[in-house]
Symmetry: C2
Subunit: 224 residues, 2 copies
DNA sequence: CGCAAGATTGAGGTCGTTCAAATAAAGTGG
DNA sequence: CCACTTTATTTGAACGACCTCAATCTTGCG
């Protein structure tokens, strides 16, 4: 594993965005649009859970930090994903925009007021939580059992499916985000990607962010 | 990480316990008591999610396997814990009794029939799922960021709090379970515990399962 | 164009794994 | 209750995957 002095991560900079002026009582259910710049904090560990969010555009990372700055990104949230819905009064996890991002903020209290049978919305929320748990369980398998190559292969396949491209896409986050998500260092991420390129499984084209899955079947095999 | 040929884990043996004869329609909500022997499977990956469970006594582990047999135990479930409640039609995770264990099996369908405002029970279930997610998020931090000593220290503290003992308790699972939970090998678990003993932070007394936390504060410091 | 941030590459070190063997504990059957 | 077997745990020595540190290269942007 790694110490705080490693290249592994950089402690992000807050100040968060300003609180929402005040959602009009009529729009509690519809939510309020908010925009965030690259690396801007959406909420931090310990912030109160007044709002939860849905990604409208862009990408969000949620993460936890150790005292010495080591960071674990538990998930990336793409367009349509719900995040920040937690039971306690405080967020146990922090959220930041990976790039320029728009989210819809919903008042958490609005959930309770929903007639429970009118569950178009609450179902969506429950499903989102459920997906989170499933993802988390799967990711524990990745973190606990897989080696660097398997981790990267798994990650690339997951990205491809989430971006619904069969073979060509742009990595929406930098190496350090990938590293902190997979429990690796940026150097290992870089080297492992290079290795996959050398093995002819993927291509890097035009910058270091554009990936082409040359042989998805092989990648699937490598993902264990 | 490790390969399938390692000491890391043993693929558990199924056959599961027999299906419940048929819950009387009157007792759908109250659940049916079932007993399992050590290492007996409660449900497997792919089994249908007709029932979910609450631990009445004993200990349950839920886990995922890779094709080659590597195992990740995502959680241990103690008395009172709810497990096996998943949204899809199939379990994405398997469950086994760690030692002799009694559980209460509830029909999943019974949840839907509950008047949603009568949420004494459904709240409990939601709270259980929530706790699972929080635990998972925390555990990803452990798996992705912490070194062996920090992992073991974290684990021992968690166990102590779950068993609600301040300082003395019996490990209810074997080394390989701990290893597969923390993403380590049994040798590393053993060595790291030995190291903590040498440092005077904990004691092993009478067998290899009885732990005494000699210096909980130090342990907390070591857990990062 | 020139700078700053991100990504790659190289050399060396370390922590945890691997393989192997010894020890301890827990059953088992007489 | 004791020899005997089996299973769990510990311990040692050597290896290897990934990390660390440092330098170089690439890319995007003012």
């Amino acid at each position: 594993m790694q110490t705080a002095t490693t290249t592994r991560s950089s402690v992000p900079r807050f100040p968060y965005a300003m609180p929402i002026p005040s959602a009009s009582s009529a729009s509690e259910l519809s939510g309020v649009r908010r925009m965030f710049a690259k690396d801007e904090g959406i909420f931090g560990e310990g912030d109160d859970t007044e709002y939860f969010y849905k990604v409208a555009s862009g990408l969000v990372r949620t993460y936890k930090l150790l005292n010495d700055g080591r960071r674990q990104i538990d998930a990336f949230h793409f367009s349509g994903d719900v995040f920040g819905l937690e039971p306690g009064g405080e967020h146990k996890i922090a959220a930041e925009a990976v790039g320029a991002t728009t989210v819809i903020a919903y008042k958490r209290s609005s959930l309770k007021r929903l007639p429970m049978n009118d569950n178009i919305f609450s179902d969506q929320v429950l499903a989102a939580m459920t997906r989170r748990l499933e993802y988390a369980q799967n990711h524990m398998l990745v973190l606990g059992c897989k080696n660097a190559q398997e981790k990267i292969a798994t990650f690339l396949l997951d990205l491809a499916s989430r971006l619904s491209t069969t073979d060509r896409f742009e990595l929406p986050m930098m190496r350090s985000d990938i590293a902190d998500h997979l429990g690796l260092t940026i150097e290992t991420v870089s080297r492992t990607i290079a290795e996959l390129v050398r093995e002819g499984v993927i291509c890097l084209e035009a910058g270091h962010r554009n990936i082409r899955l040359k042989d998805p079947a092989a990648l699937r095999r490598l993902s264990a």
